[in-house]
Amino acid sequence: MNGSIHMTLNGLEVSVETGMTILDAARFFGFPIPTLCHMEGLSPYGACRLCVVEIGDAPQSKLVSSCTYPVEEGLIVRTASARVLRARKMILELLLASCPQSKVIQDLASEHDIRQQRFRQEHEDCILCGLCVRMCEEQMMAKAIGFRGRGEKRSIGTPFDIHSEVCRLCGGCIYVCPACQLRCTYTEPDKAICGGCVNISPPCVEKDSYDDMMCYMAPCVACEIKKD
């Protein structure tokens, strides 16, 4: 199914390869779209909704997540219409109200000029973006963690909340997490890995037995200490 299609991107007539997503196309042509749950090398999932763009002609136009929506012949896309910006701001306000400690979210919020905080303050350490799950499954081939439950009770974790046999303690999940990366310290293994992985001890804790492991933990206290 290789070939190309024609579409309109922010008024620009462009031709792009079939099989691309709107996000790919927009980025290719230099239109920025903020994302949270999207990462090169992982399959698109469409959880955070931050990447929404407007497609179609008003009044039938609608918002779709650009990271999951495939390009189509004749598609009309606006990546920064008033409707898109309004939605983006609300999403960031929601994120900031629930996950104020995340550096990634703080940065996005300030980039988008979020100046109010109208929801009750919460302190959650997971936005259920699913990056960790996809990292673990698609890059680490481990499938140690996954989603459980639905609605308010949805969470990330290992099956039955017991220490996973297949987890390789690579830390990849922590590395990709936008919500908890900076809070990862080996002193509190329970909190070390974002929301779901609470039952896995992070690599740093058992560093000795995993000397040659592939480790993703970027600012890692354990490693810092070990160097000395």
Binding site: Y45, G46, A47, C48, R49, L50, V52, K62, L63, V64, S65, T68, Y69, P70, E72, R83, R86, A87, M90, I91, L94, L95, S98, R118, F119, R120, I127, L128, C129, G130, F147, G149, R150, G151, E152, K153, R154
Partner: protein
Amino acid sequence: MTPPLNSLEVFKTFQQHLANGRKADHRTIVVSAGACGLASGAQKLIEALQAEMHDEDSAARVAVRVTGCHGFCELEPSLLVEPEGTFYPRVAVKQVSRLVKAVACGEVINDLLWTDPDTGKSVARMEDLPFYSKQVRKIMGRNEKIDPVRVESYIENGGYAALVKVLERGDPGWVVEEVARSGLRGRGGAGFPTGVKWRLLAKQSGREHKFLVCNADEGDPGAYMDRSILEGNPHCILEGMLIGAYATGATQGILYIRNEYPLAIAHVRTALEQAYEQGVLGNHILGTEFCFDIQIVQGAGAFVCGEETALIRSIEGKMGEPRQRPPFPIEQGIHGEPTGINNVETWANIPLIILEGAENYAGTGTSGSAGTKVFSLVGKIKNTGLVEVPMGITIREIVYDIGGGAVDGASIKAVQTGGPSGGCIPVSRFDLPIDYDSLAKAGSIMGSGGMIVMDNHTCIVDVAKYFMGFLKDESCGKCYTCRKGTQRMYEILEDITEGRGRKEQLELLEELALVVKDTTMCGLGQTAANPVLSTLRYFREEYLEHIKNGQCPAGVCKALISYSINEHCTGCGVCASNCPTEAIAGERKERHSIDASKCIKCGNCRSACKFNAVEVV
């Protein structure tokens, strides 16, 4: 072994033979025994009737048939006597013996008939009851006629004749166009034209499999029409799917039924076994080249699994979670193969369309919405039950003529249609005709057909909160704006009902509702804001009353009301003995009073008082 019905001719002879076998002078007592009838005592009635049948005299003249639900839930357990159509509501076991004797002699027992509360007159025939007289029961009406666990009963009543007609004609394209011409739109909620869907499915060629799914997930609270069709007439669903398969070239059928429907599953399972045995399902159906299989998949009963893409994942054995469309299921569904999904009621309409012809079918209903629709009419209304009405009927007719209006002198304020993701329609707009487009314009949806009536004792904010609570638990949780958005909307509604609401929160609520609607992936999130948006549209005053004046006009929100005892009090003391916190004091035969500091606002006193002396202020 070849099944008995091995050619179209054999089938027709068999059907004729069954129809000829009916005894003209024979009377039949029909028991409405759907899951709801059974819950209100139909099983005991059936046992009592069977005991009466031991009497040879009675057994020679009277037969008993146990069928699915007849729709008038309020008056279950009820009996119907054929051929006259005499209706006996709320029959007690001790009346059975007398009834059977009367029926055997062709008599009617007047004092057991239904009496019209308005005129005081009794009504004998089912179709003369106001509840039934305005209905057009094309689908539900077959429930009375058919014993759901006997395929012969279905065939005797014209069952599988539509399939035979289609096979005789031998032109799948004609079937698709006939369904398109009928104007049938999907009954599962969105109202997508079924003929168009089938055309797209028929076009998918060169693929190994093609699936047809019957969506019987029915997760809306208070809706149970799909269940009653599955329980009462399972073969009509199989026949609909067979016709659909013939028309679209589908190879495999799946009935996705929620686990909470054990009786429906049992009846469908029996129906499948019998259909295979008789040769109307499986390989070389009725001796033709046409082959089709149907299997049951039991769903875990999550509301979101009713959504097409989540349903597909659930059938594949994965977590029920919607995915991006496109690609649409019609191109890439179960295991990547083309998949056509229709609702139970949609399937039930198919044999009707084929038998009576598209033009005749389209004669019922409106130009944009053809046919009938079954609603489950519940809430603050006299006659609750399943009602089947032609599209285009007004809400007023349903609520007042069929439903009998408000209970106990209350006044009706609104109806909520479309289940949790539907909206409220105020009494001022009750002349709205019921069809897909009018309801959507009024800010609600047809949905699967839930209709909840609310009166002046129902708080609109509380209703919105109830539905939001449901949605926040049932959202799959994938989209951040659906999961968090429903939680935050619930939080704000909770603040308002608990007296903490602020004016700015109302604006925030509206702003958030629009963003949730805009930015979510599937139908659940896209409609999750409806309960808020439609109530704000029609009942903003009631919201403001809570926020500005700290009052709940309906007297529901506990934080905003208090109970007091007025001058009608006779001092009987019943309220005091029902109060769990001993908040009520008073001398016998003198007016009592409530200590507000102890009162937990449970409302027990108010329900207990026979003199309407406890009031909400």
